[in-house]
Symmetry: C2
Subunit: 145 residues, 2 copies
């Protein structure tokens, strides 16, 4: 059931899904960060986090918000594994940031209309989380400011 | 295809799977820690890490190695989500350690005989990884010593 949602998500990452995150996310979508315990509730804040993650982790298949031509530091974002069942999808990814390897998962839940109601991210190893923590904080400040 | 392997894994966690990890894991199984980049190769080292994780994270459904009666610090290990497809399984869990919330995933791959060939763990939030890092290091030292 979630297959179409994930196809749309991939199209979105290529900038080819009309309506973008506004069309993909449920109004009450909840985002769970790899760094912070507190759930981030609502479409607007989820969009902000996903755009910041895109700008931070993006690469070969840039997430929206990634700056074109930003060079080596953002190369290589790719999904390496997808497990879909019912209204659940788990997508494993790998990327590099400043030469450091980052391995993570997007854990996505959709409702019966295919809207994303929950988006959770985890990353490993520890060094990657610490780096992501710094970069995301910087990116969120920039987006807010 | 991985369904039987995961059923066996759950039985193992309840101490009810004859043969235990020796029967579940492929000889060339690789373990990927949430903390460390370097893959841990082979059945013996994978067993050591899984037993240490069990002793560290165990609770209501104790992983093997968890000490009975160790009290509050190890309560509440439970799987909250399972997504299985082909030879891939991703199991999300929650637990507490010293009152701190830990949320994680076991990413399990089996071969065509149902043997586990890859076991990867990621956890969130950052506080949980730092805590797990300390506890796992202590537990591994104890098991080696």
């Amino acid at each position: 059931m979630i297959e179409q949602t994930i196809a749309n998500w991939h199209d979105h990452l290529r900038g080819k899904f009309e309506g973008g995150l506004d069309a993909l996310l449920h109004d009450d979508c909840v985002f769970y960060s790899p760094v912070v315990f507190t759930p981030q509730r609502g479409k607007e804040i989820t969009k902000m986090y996903l755009n910041a993650a895109g700008a931070t982790l993006g690469g070969d298949e840039p997430r929206p918000g990634a700056q074109a031509g930003s060079g080596d530091e953002k190369k290589g974002f790719r999904y390496t594994k997808e497990v879909l069942a019912g209204n659940q999808a788990i997508l494993e990814f790998e990327t590099e940031m400043g030469g450091k390897y980052i391995n993570g998962v997007d854990i996505i839940t959709c409702d019966d209309d295919g809207k994303i109601v929950e988006f959770k991210v985890m990353v490993r190893p520890l060094q990657a989380i610490n780096l992501l923590h710094q970069q995301m904080a910087r990116m969120l400040e920039k987006m807010k400011g």
